[in-house]
């Protein structure tokens, strides 16, 4: 009868590191009686039907994703656990839908940029993850989430926050610079100088994004306690708390997001601070979610847990560790499609929209890919015999996800010398084939 809410663990004194998990915690904390649910900080996604957290487990049923959870709770309790039930006016419900979609679409990229894409901040995020994740998932999860975040924010053109791409740009500009005579060269910018310059450029864009996301929200909030009324929080408030608290509260090296909020949206800041105190009941540390074996600690937490969130320690078993290793490894294998089209487990499978299996099992992608690989090899051979191959320094981050994973460990970067200088015989030795399966950037 007790519902289990699986979330990413606490970080930055908030109960979770993920905005949707925070929203789900806020929703359950306000809609369910305290003895009806427990909160579990887990570190593998294999149990979630949508491969994302939060996931709600009701005995044998599992539901993934905030909106699916809200929907399930409404149906399961005949509206009793529905935070939005007070809103009889359809206009209010329409506003909730619209602003929820708006919040997710606008604030999610901002959090992606702030927590994952910006290199300096990502170091901090990764550290936070490593304290809440079990071995060995802390090596898989943060780089994976960073890759997703980069993909989501690619269209904003703010990759300059990411030092890795900056380094690549420097590499390519260096090649061009070799052709310029020394007397005409400008002094090569230092890394820190370049970062400053790029970041101050990006700052204008970021400020515009922050304004686009939070101005309508502050207007909606007005002088009220919650977004839509003074009395009760709605599901929109839960989402807003989740996203805004992660934007405002973490202390990060590049704090443009928090600064933007504090500087221009004082009402929203106050709303977040009050909400965090009332809903999440104060600061949450990792020990709340993952108690150590020391008795003293756990008893202390037991005492204060009368009012705190109903944490329960996650079960540790080897099976789940193995499964998570397997699934993470499979995700890294090229041509293996992890994106199987499925439906959420709530509804009975009445849908005639069966997953189009032929779509993923079609022979075209491997064929195209191998043709592309052949073309790449051929063009590389042609190119390398025409041009003078330069010795190239390879970095760990060039090695894809595995490289990013090991970049966290500090055992020095292996250096590989690829290619000879043409004077030594002119035969290129190094061969690099890079088949990119980058998605078509096309407006549909």
């Amino acid at each position: 009868m007790v519902l289990e809410l699986h979330v990413w663990g606490p970080a930055f004194s908030l109960p979770s590191i993920d905005p949707q998990c925070l929203a789900a915690i806020a929703y359950l904390a306000q809609s369910l009686p305290r003895d009806h649910w427990v909160l579990v900080a887990i570190s593998d996604l294999t149990l979630s039907p949508t491969k994302e957290l939060p996931a709600l487990h009701d005995q044998s049923i599992a539901i993934g994703g905030f909106e699916n959870i809200v929907d399930y709770l409404r149906k399961r309790s005949d509206g009793q656990w529905d935070l939005d039930r007070q809103l009889s006016a359809p206009k209010g419900r329409a506003d909730i839908t619209a602003f929820s979609s708006f919040l997710i679409s606008q604030a999610h990229p901002l959090l992606d940029l702030s927590l994952y894409v910006a290199s300096e901040n990502y170091t901090k995020t990764r550290t936070a993850y490593s304290s809440i994740l079990q071995w060995p998932t802390q090596y898989f999860v943060p780089p994976q989430r960073r890759t997703f975040a980069k993909a989501r924010t690619e269209h904003l053109g703010l990759s300059s926050l990411d030092l890795d791409t900056l380094d690549e740009q420097r590499g390519s500009s260096r090649k061009a610079a070799d052709l310029i005579p020394q007397s005409l060269r400008t002094s090569r910018p230092t890394v820190t100088g370049l970062v400053r310059y790029k970041q101050s450029n990006a700052r204008f864009k970021l400020d515009a994004l922050v304004d686009a996301a939070f101005k309508p929200l502050q207007q909606l909030l007005g002088e009220k306690k919650w977004m839509l009324s003074d009395e009760r929080a709605t599901s929109l408030d839960c989402l807003a708390l989740g996203y805004l608290s992660l934007a405002l509260i973490p202390e990060l090296p590049q704090s443009w997001l928090a600064e933007g909020l504090q500087g221009r949206y004082p009402k929203l800041c106050k709303y977040v601070e009050d909400g965090v105190k009332e809903v999440f009941r104060g600061n949450v540390t990792v020990e709340h979610a993952l108690p150590n074996s020391t008795d003293e600690h756990s008893t202390r937490i037991e005492e204060e847990s009368e009012t705190a969130l109903p944490w329960r320690a996650p079960e540790q078993n080897l099976g789940s560790v193995g499964a998570s290793i397997l699934s993470s490894t499979l995700d890294l294998v090229p041509f293996y499609k992890r994106s199987v089209v499925t439906t959420s487990s709530i509804q009975p499978p009445h849908s005639i929209d069966t997953p189009p299996r032929w779509l993923t099992s079609t022979l075209i992608p491997p064929l195209l890919a191998s043709a592309g690989a052949v073309a790449a090899i051929a063009s590389y051979l042609l190119y390398s015999s025409l041009s003078t191959p330069e010795p190239e320094k390879r970095r760990l981050s060039d090695m894809g996800e595995a490289g990013a994973m090991f970049a966290g460990l500090n055992f020095g970067e292996p250096k590989k010398e690829l290619g000879n200088s043409p004077g030594d015989g002119g035969v290129p030795v190094g061969l690099e084939v890079d088949v990119e399966s980058a998605g078509e950037k096309r407006d549909l």
């Binding site: 994302e52 329409a94 679409s105 997703f148 005579p181 005639i352 998605g439 549909l444």
Partner: protein, 335 residues
């Protein structure tokens, strides 16, 4: 200048590759002998007149041209495009009373890689400075600048209008996100990833006109599908079909609620960009010329009669004969 560059490159602190020196000396050694030089001076022996432009190149650049996804007959009639992204701007330009022609095209023709784009009219006098194409995200600004130029005196009036619309601004952005994310996601899924619709709509309208080569068609359809898939996977780790349709249905419910009994969104007397955006999706979903095999989205939309009315109103009043003629023709076909 290039000699200077070579000279300084030799003065580099580190030894430059010997190859450069060899090349430089050989250049001085090898000069063209005088008789051969004289022979080549006689060329060209004959100069032919300049080729004419291809037949299909735009002859008439006196009207603005909007390049959209449409059929050839549709382009002549100025019928609504079957692509929501194109139809949005087509409708908006019609609302704003801009005289333009539509030209049938595809993504490969666009300078940005995506349709629509606008090629502003250029008068033959200014042939040297032909107008640059305007991509879809700049069309609104282009129209605004055009209006500003036309009636510079009435700026006070527009300022008043903008102050009035300030209060509905926050809802404008929020409800716009419903269209750009929820409805669009469901549309993408339903059109590209649902096999029946892909076969009945995408193949005949998007892929077959662009090429007759079977292999290229296969590659194009794969590209389109995987682009749609990547787009959806950006927002969640897996494609949750039920959630996509449910979100779209809620979005339509909210839009219907927002419209209420008004004629146009936000109580305006004339349609604006928001109406164009809604119409772009509702028209494509309700257009009877499009053969939707899997009609879940259309069925969902038909529950909200005011949205259907809104679509009809715009199709009849603004696309006039073009929209109505098409509809009546297809109805006769059904009978």
């Amino acid at each position: 200048m290039p000699q200077d560059a070579d000279a300084t490159s030799e003065e580099r602190p580190y030894p430059s590759p010997p190859k450069i020196q060899v090349r430089q000396t050989s250049r001085q050694w090898f000069t063209t002998p005088q008789p051969i030089r004289r022979l080549f001076d006689k060329f060209p022996l004959r100069t032919y007149p300049v080729n004419e432009l291809p037949q299909r190149s735009p002859q008439n650049r006196e009207r603005h041209a909007l390049w959209v996804f449409t059929t050839n007959t549709g382009a002549q009639l100025g019928a609504p495009s079957f692509n929501p992204g194109c139809l949005k701007w087509q409708a908006y330009m019609i609302f704003k009373g801009i005289d333009f022609v539509t030209i049938s095209s595809n993504n490969h023709a666009s300078p940005t890689g995506a349709l629509p784009f606008l090629l502003p009219a250029s008068s033959p006098k200014l042939l040297g400075e032909a107008a640059l194409p305007v991509p879809s995200n700049r069309i609104e600004r282009w129209i605004r600048e055009k209006e500003k130029n036309q009636h510079a005196g009435t700026s006070a009036l527009t300022k008043q209008n903008s102050a009035m619309s300030e209060s509905s601004d926050m809802r404008y952005e929020a409800y716009m996100s419903l269209l750009n994310y929820r409805v669009r996601n469901a549309y993408l899924y339903s059109l590209y990833l649902s096999p029946p619709n892909f076969a009945s709509i995408v193949l005949p309208l998007y892929i077959n006109p662009s090429t007759s080569n079977t292999l290229t068609r296969l590659a194009l359809s794969h590209q389109l599908r995987s682009a749609a898939e990547t787009e959806l996977l950006k927002q969640s780790p897996i494609i949750d079909v039920e959630a996509i349709y449910r979100d779209c249905d809620r979005a339509m419910e909210s839009l219907s609620e927002l419209l209420g009994d008004d004629e146009f969104f936000f109580g305006k007397g004339t349609p604006e960009l928001f109406d164009a955006s809604v119409f772009a999706y509702t028209h494509v979903l309700l257009d009877e010329d499009l053969d939707w095999q899997h009609t879940r989205l259309r069925d969902g939309l038909e529950q909200y009669s005011n949205l259907v009315e809104h679509q009809k109103r715009i199709a009849e009043d603004w696309f006039g004969a073009r929209g109505v003629r098409k509809e009546s023709k297809s109805r006769e076909g059904l009978k």
